[in-house]
Symmetry: C2
Subunit: 409 residues, 2 copies
């Protein structure tokens, strides 16, 4: 007989443009499923759950729930928190007290580790709890899934921005000859690679892309920039924030501040800017998009949003089938006519591992990506989202967190 | 009897998302006007005209001309070039040789100075040339016009980005407590001020805005950030790149690199980031949007695009009425039901002058803007542009520059 209990969904780690679509998927599928109890939203991830900061998601207006489909950020709030050993026990006590039998955690690598540990502790204590991880990250570095919800939208935004600022660079004959754009992505180059989608012709931007998967060589980089400048007259460089030198040292980390022989306050874009200006005497503009990459719902990918919703729905379906300790995955069924279906993988296999950008998708020269990557990424950025506007700006929704907050005494 | 001759249109200075709309307006109005000759496009502004790098705009496909309405950058190419005395004479010789009797120059302050000098030289030499300046700048700093085409789109983009990254900041409980966004705008604060449009409630982002019109005071700034942090728990700061200290020294300029007692490679955002991290021990993320602000057609303002087109059309109408030495302006006829009509002003009055952000639109504390600015700016960002897409990215057009280029032997 199927479990009848309450559920909780929470969000963790850096938000994405479409992470709320996953919460939407969980809510709507939960509502469709017979016999389930109350679905709580845990505020600010595991951190809020520990403080019993819940809201009753059923008490939210349906129009606000619908608005999650076009609202960026983590509507339930998010956190970066590594649970201590004793906090796992506290968490389980709270779940027991509230008869929470379903835990849906939307997050990246670290969150899957947390979810896995909760799952294992529940098993150990013989508490019937279904734990399902819902993947999200703009970094696209979760293993076992073809790609991660959140990546497509960030990729679309980065490629669009590179295309637009590339037009600006090409059109304006000025002293700025080089643009360097710094892309997020931690230790993997997926997001920086997405800039390649902007290129239509040989001389088009971006001209050079550097990923963390290949050690960064200063002399090689300067030669690349110079070669490109001589050939085209301007150079557009995209570099991943996680690029390291041959000693594995982050170019942008504070510990490496003297790597180029000078104090460095900014990130890698500024380091490379200084390098090009000093060595090649070319004027450089650096664009550091920062959190815009994971927040730009105004030009998010329809495909990505739909898939983020799909993995949320699938999490509830798996739990309803008495499954636990799993993360939902996306399986690319058809490469030609892009089609994905949801799959799953054990949380323990995902926890704390990273999917690197394949080395054979990087060109031999180490400064661009191959067409295999483009074939992989192109479907992920397809389609746009119509965001309602008010006074000329996106009219995003907000969950009412205060009014319906439940605090257990 | 009306002049029958050829015309030339060119673009100058930093591009905007909608500057091509002005070229579109010139082309379409030119085509409607009886008896006009060939309309040339001067490539890369005055610099290309000097080299007789022209294209025949009538020879372009109509679909490409239509595409200018949704394509950012300067489709004809742009430049930053200050004409030398002898180059003015060369320019006029070229105009005479090609029977160019109409010169439409789309640009900002510097370009209006150039246009004015061309106009004066033509008068002096008794060469019948109609010179009309078409305003464009994201900085919104041209005088005598209610606002400048290009500003509305940049304002919309900045406000949207602040709204979205503000949601990210608020939602994620992490070590990053402060976000600092650096806005363009040279010596005026119009674009940084536009971030205020994102604010809906009192505690909403942005919390603090600093404009170049008020001297920046370090202690005051730190107190503002600390106060806001204690009250709200996170702080979103928007700062104009042109902010100066009480000695009028740019905080971001190289000459001021030691203003805060340390080496500084980045712009003002990085300088403030270091200041907050060192003095308040709060972790800061800085977003430097760079040229995205003037290139983001994917979320440009419909109103702005339409007005950019309008001023282009009006330039041709004025010239057809035998007017010269003028810049088109936008006149706000009705403040309540936003309505603008085109006006004009003598180029000599515009040349090299800047319209500062009004001091009485800045709050007394010097860290935000008043509702009078919001009333002014809100209509300018209204409406969106449907940009066609291809493979999930904007499908911008390109003028065929090579094929139809005319080089006089």
């Amino acid at each position: 007989m199927r479990l009848h209990g309450n559920g909780i969904v929470a969000q963790s780690g850096g938000p994405t443009a479409v992470i709320n679509n996953s919460v939407y998927g969980v809510i709507r599928e939960w509502q469709k499923t017979d016999g389930f109890g109350t679905l709580f939203g845990g505020l600010h991830g595991i951190k809020g759950i520990l403080q019993e900061d819940f809201i009753n998601l059923s008490a939210q207006q349906s129009s606000v729930i619908e608005g999650l489909r076009y609202t960026p950020g983590a509507a339930l709030g998010s956190c970066r928190h590594k649970l201590k050993e004793e906090e796992y026990a506290t968490l389980l006590q709270i779940f027991k007290k509230r008869n929470i039998r379903f835990f849906f955690y939307v997050g990246g690598n670290d969150s899957m580790d947390t979810a896995n540990k909760v799952h294992r502790l529940a098993m150990k204590e013989n508490f019937d709890l279904k734990v399902i991880g819902v993947p999200k990250t703009i970094d696209n570095d979760l293993p076992f899934t073809d790609h991660c919800p959140g990546y497509g939208s960030a990729a679309k935004y980065v490629a669009t921005t590179v295309m637009e600022t590339g037009i600006d660079l090409k059109d304006l004959l000025s002293s700025n000859k080089v643009t360097i754009l710094e892309a997020m992505g931690r230790n993997t180059g997926w997001l920086a690679a997405a800039a390649a989608l902007a290129k239509r012709d040989e001389d088009d931007v971006p001209h050079l892309i550097y990923l963390p998967e290949k050690p960064f060589k200063r002399e090689r980089f300067l030669a690349d920039v110079e070669h490109c400048y001589r050939k085209i007259g301007h150079v557009y460089v995209v570099v991943s924030e996680g690029v390291t030198d041959e000693n594995g040292c982050y170019l942008s980390a504070d510990s490496c501040r003297d790597a180029f022989g000078h104090a460095k306050l900014g990130g890698i874009a500024d380091a490379l800017k200084t390098m090009v200006e000093q060595e090649l005497r070319l004027k450089v503009r650096s664009n550091v998009l920062g959190t815009t990459q994971r927040a730009a719902m105004h030009y998010a990918s329809r495909t990505d949003a739909d898939e983020a919703c799909l993995v949320g729905r699938e999490a509830v379906r798996l739990a309803a089938q008495e499954m636990s300790g799993l993360m939902v995955t996306l399986v690319r069924e058809d490469k030609r006519d892009y089609l994905t279906t949801p799959g799953c993988v054990e949380l323990r296999r995902v926890a704390n591992t990273e999917k690197k950008f394949p080395l054979d998708w990087i060109t031999e020269a180490g400064n661009f990506v191959t067409s295999r990557f483009l074939d992989y990424a192109r479907p992920l950025i397809a389609g746009e989202i119509q965001v309602p506007t008010k006074n000329g700006l996106p009219d995003y929704v907000r969950l009412r967190l205060g009014e319906v907050k439940t605090k257990v005494s």
